[in-house]
């Protein structure tokens, strides 16, 4: 046993046990070994302390790589998944290093900036309204299936420049590839759905190439890196990344927050009453506490020493955003939700050059869903027996079902399908998916 690896911990975030013991494991690792070596999944380092995660993720760009070398042209690094995924293919710009990665971010940032996202609020509000209208007279809803799955999916389609009605092709596979375990009998069906989604996305790419229309797809099609267009394969990888980032994460955040607010009705009432001052800090607190994207894998690209540990080139590292978010040295009472928490320096969107590019979208969509739930079904009661969390939280801390009942109310407008048809016209006429920069909208 090498002395470098004297801090050892058997760390397997893919087991249901880890989800169950999360707070205990976090406490133990942070006290005993904020950086540990684990022999699981081929052997890898785990950063669990906030300071360690910060130093490695944000300040070690020169020695940490996200590269997923699928063709074996470079050093064979395996990207951000530990263990390496069985499905080949690079995960878009999240599995690239700068400077290549920077070109992608620069092309997409103007579509995801605070001002660009603000322009979508009326659309988001109308989708939320329609989702709630579908259920409001019944007095029953599944907050995951009937709301938190739909709104992020529709908005992601809209921002990409894909027809809104196609959200349904992407919806189930985008979540199911995350929560379906490799030994599930359902795997073949999920594989077929995923294939259908891949086909549609490739079709959209070709269609937008032939007939440009505004959106994230078009931004990537116009991308040039040192005078060259990226391959369709790299573009599709990045489009899948945008879908993965846009769908399951915001769903997970919203569902967990709604569940917690249902269990804490006094806090729910307070949030509703004091939303003008509390909603922003509450949003950050839910991102911290639930950390939908639980972490990311990296590869050391050089021998180095960071926060007192020596690492060797080629070794794998897991940066746990989720555990860093529960570090008592940064967050007093880290395992408590404090809707008014101040100075909330959470790692819930990651840290460094790969920090979530859609954080403004996530925050906005989350807030718009929460506000309408508070207004239109303020007395909802979730049903624990029908509530289903992801069995494991190795990739996304997600939820599958969150059924609830509430006092029925009146509909305010048309249902979802009709709403999406009219919103499609709005998107097209107002060119909402155009980028916004400091100097205004760029055609």
């Amino acid at each position: 046993m090498s002395d470098r690896k004297k801090n050892r911990y058997h760390f397997d975030r893919h087991t249901p046990q880890y989800r169950h013991d999360f707070e205990e494991v976090t406490r133990e690792m942070q006290e005993r070994c904020p950086i540990a070596w684990s022999d699981t999944h081929g052997g890898h380092w785990v950063a669990a302390g906030n300071r360690e995660v910060f130093e490695l993720a944000a300040r070690s760009a020169g020695v940490i790589s996200n590269d997923h070398d699928v063709t074996g042209e470079r050093r064979g690094y395996q990207g951000i998944s530990i263990p390496a995924p069985t499905r080949a293919g690079k995960g878009g710009f999240l599995e690239m290093d700068p400077p290549e990665q920077r070109h992608y971010r620069q092309a997409l940032n103007p579509y995801l900036s605070p001002a660009a996202v603000a322009r979508w609020i009326p659309v988001v509000d109308d989708v939320v309204r329609a989702c709630i209208d579908e259920k409001i007279e019944e007095g029953r809803i599944d907050f995951v299936e009937d709301l938190a799955n739909i709104v992020p999916a529709v908005l992601t389609m809209a921002m990409m420049g894909i027809p809104l009605r196609n959200w349904d092709i992407y919806n189930e596979p985008a979540h199911a590839v995350i929560y379906t375990p490799p030994n599930s009998p359902d795997l073949a069906r999920v594989g077929r759905l995923h294939e259908e989604m891949r086909r549609d996305l490739a079709g959209q790419l070709a269609e937008i190439k032939a007939n440009p229309r505004p959106g994230l797809v078009n931004a990537l099609l116009n991308l040039e890196i040192d005078g060259e267009r990226p391959s369709d394969e790299d573009l599709l990888g990045s489009l899948h990344l945008l879908i993965g980032g846009g769908f399951d994460t915001t769903t997970a955040l919203t569902a967990h927050a709604i569940e917690w607010l249902g269990e804490n009705p006094a806090e729910r009432e307070r949030l509703s009453r004091e939303r003008d001052t509390l909603l922003d800090s509450a949003t950050e607190e839910f991102v911290r506490y639930y950390t939908p994207v639980v972490g990311g894998g990296r590869t050391f690209s050089a021998d180095c020493e960071v926060v007192g540990t020596r690492f060797e080139e080629g070794e794998r590292l897991w940066l746990s955003w989720a555990m860093a978010n529960r570090d008592p040295s940064v967050f007093p009472d880290p395992d408590e939700i404090d809707l008014a928490r101040e100075g909330n320096r959470h790692t819930g969107f990651g840290l460094g050059v790969h920090r979530c590019i859609g954080s403004n979208v996530a925050r906005t969509v989350f807030k718009r869903m929460i506000v309408q739930v508070l207004d239109r079904m303020p007395d909802y009661v979730c049903e624990p027996e029908g509530t289903v969390h992801y069995e494991t939280v190795g990739v996304i801390n997600g939820m599958r079902f969150l059924p609830a009942t509430f006092t029925p109310g009146p509909r305010l407008g048309p249902g979802l399908d009709e709403t999406l048809e009219s919103l499609q016209r709005t998107c097209d006429e107002q060119r909402l998916a155009d980028p916004v920069t400091r100097r205004g909208t760029k055609p």
Binding site: P110, S113, P114, G343, V353, R438
Partner: protein, 67 residues
């Protein structure tokens, strides 16, 4: 002490505003960071150096004479 953010390099990763929230603000339009005041308030120098060191894009410059 003066501090400056190169807008051509800034990618809105928000680390500076995390490290020195009193010194850097994030733009409502493009999400880029800029100093509230290019003259760093007394007592915040260490924070600002820390923020500059944390910027993944090396967009923050600190100095007596800059900008």
């Amino acid at each position: 002490m003066k501090v400056r953010v190169d807008q051509g390099r800034c990618q809105g990763h928000t680390l500076c505003a995390m490290v020195a929230p009193q010194v850097f603000e994030l733009d409502d339009v493009d999400g880029h960071a800029s100093p509230v005041d290019e003259n760093v308030p007394a007592g915040r120098e260490a924070e600002v150096r820390e923020a500059a060191r944390s910027c993944p894009e090396r967009a923050i410059s600190v100095g007596k004479d800059a900008p």
